[in-house]
Symmetry: C2
Subunit: 317 residues, 2 copies
Amino acid sequence: MYLIGIDVGGMSIKGGAVTTDGKIVYKTAIPTTEKYTEQYSISEDIRKVIDAVLEGANITLSEVKGIGIGQPGSIDSKNGIIRYSNNISLERVPVVAELKRYFDVPVFINNDANCAALGEYVFGAGKGYNDIIFVTLGTGVGTGFIIDGKLFEGRECAGTEGGHMQIDISPEAQPCSCGRKGCWEAYASATALMRQTKAVMDKNPDSLMHKFAKEEGKVSGKTAFLAAKAGDKAGQSVVDTYIGYITSGLVNLVNIFCPDAILIGGGISYEKEYLTNPIQKAINEDRFGAKFNPKVEIKTASLKNDAGILGAAALAL
Amino acid sequence: MYLIGIDVGGMSIKGGAVTTDGKIVYKTAIPTTEKYTEQYSISEDIRKVIDAVLEGANITLSEVKGIGIGQPGSIDSKNGIIRYSNNISLERVPVVAELKRYFDVPVFINNDANCAALGEYVFGAGKGYNDIIFVTLGTGVGTGFIIDGKLFEGRECAGTEGGHMQIDISPEAQPCSCGRKGCWEAYASATALMRQTKAVMDKNPDSLMHKFAKEEGKVSGKTAFLAAKAGDKAGQSVVDTYIGYITSGLVNLVNIFCPDAILIGGGISYEKEYLTNPIQKAINEDRFGAKFNPKVEIKTASLKNDAGILGAAALAL
């Protein structure tokens, strides 16, 4: 039997046929249509991807245990409805009911960060733990929680927005895309890191960051890390400050949940130990009751580019 | 059948005999001995209170369903051990095992804020909800979480320290008793309110706050509220800023848990609607996805002075 995992993103809808032990046997993608309407629902494009996966993997629906969809935004997973997504502009779309018309198998939908947490728990670096927090450092900061072996979604699936935890109430707090100021996302996302990098570059014209940015053709989430690794002081200061921001939010979550492990995913996680080692040290020291409470491991998430498809597929297990 | 609830505090150990529907039939207290040692454990004083309750309520142990203990600090409730408490200085005390020597009934221990959350859920303002967050605004800020009808404690009971969520990463952040800077507790506790009140009083010698502080003989958590209610601008500014601090942390918790209700307890909660109304408004507006997500009610906790005994008793239900 196979699972089908669908990963809805701002640019494309990816889909894959996945074995029940987490191997992708076939994957494909189509671009996300810019405007979805009541007449042309996003479900139509998801349907196309599912059909393409069935055909490409050369399997029939009778071999499919279930379909899982990972979708950015606020998802009513119980009723299979996208409450809203501001990334791809969507409001109250009953995706599961729409897809059930075509596919007579169980269909599930959940928030993409929740899916990624579940995927890491079932197939990835979270295997063997009971309680994990998954944090993705990308365009934004997404969080997903596994508590006692189960995906935690908050009441009516309306929780787990850890990225929108306010960590700066000072008057200088950064504005966040959610409308509030000082959210963790506005400090710890890749987007925030690029802003922080540019600000320090402007003040340090001799920094190696200028060289690395030139080579890459832009300032990216890597620029400061590359410079820091090459011994550049200004680059190191950007990295240290950024890691401090990540840690601030993580300590908050550790103090509330005390998970077995925190898994860090998203583009920035490719820095691996360069990121996880200082975070591990800071968590060990800064958490509440550090001396007495059980250890929390900081690890890099392992599913990388396939996290979206595998996490969505895990919904159908 | 009766429950015995024990409420351990910095000044005294209170105890009560409680009916299974939450009525206290007898209560008493003894002062907390300053230094507990391995030779003279806090369990000895708890034992004395239990004996006094049995005698005062005129009941025998055969009529007792169980004993519950609420204790400040980090508690390993599964193994019945106080991991540590900095309030009353204690480290690794196996209270449940020590008491079981004397009392052949089920004995439970948990963190005091967890007990208060459970007490409100079972006997108080949290009745009828599935998911509640209890927040106590006192010397510190304590939090307790009921998720899906069960007390949530974090892995190995080492979580739910919401008061030690960092909400200010700016260089001017207030130091917290836990060693970090910028914790919610350092802004939203009664202690913090008094500090904020004094600072504004110093700059506003004509404020009515001086009059109310004089009448009470000190600056308290009430001073700014009294002045604000009497139309004093400086007092109102203290109250508004303070409510903003409370709200900042509450929105963070709502974004993660989306509870049915938040119950506010502790000394400051006696301000009732004067506190809950502006907080309700701010939560409705500031939470993530406010337009689409289910409502979270803000209420005053109802167990007041008996919260400690009743919450501890609820452990034994």
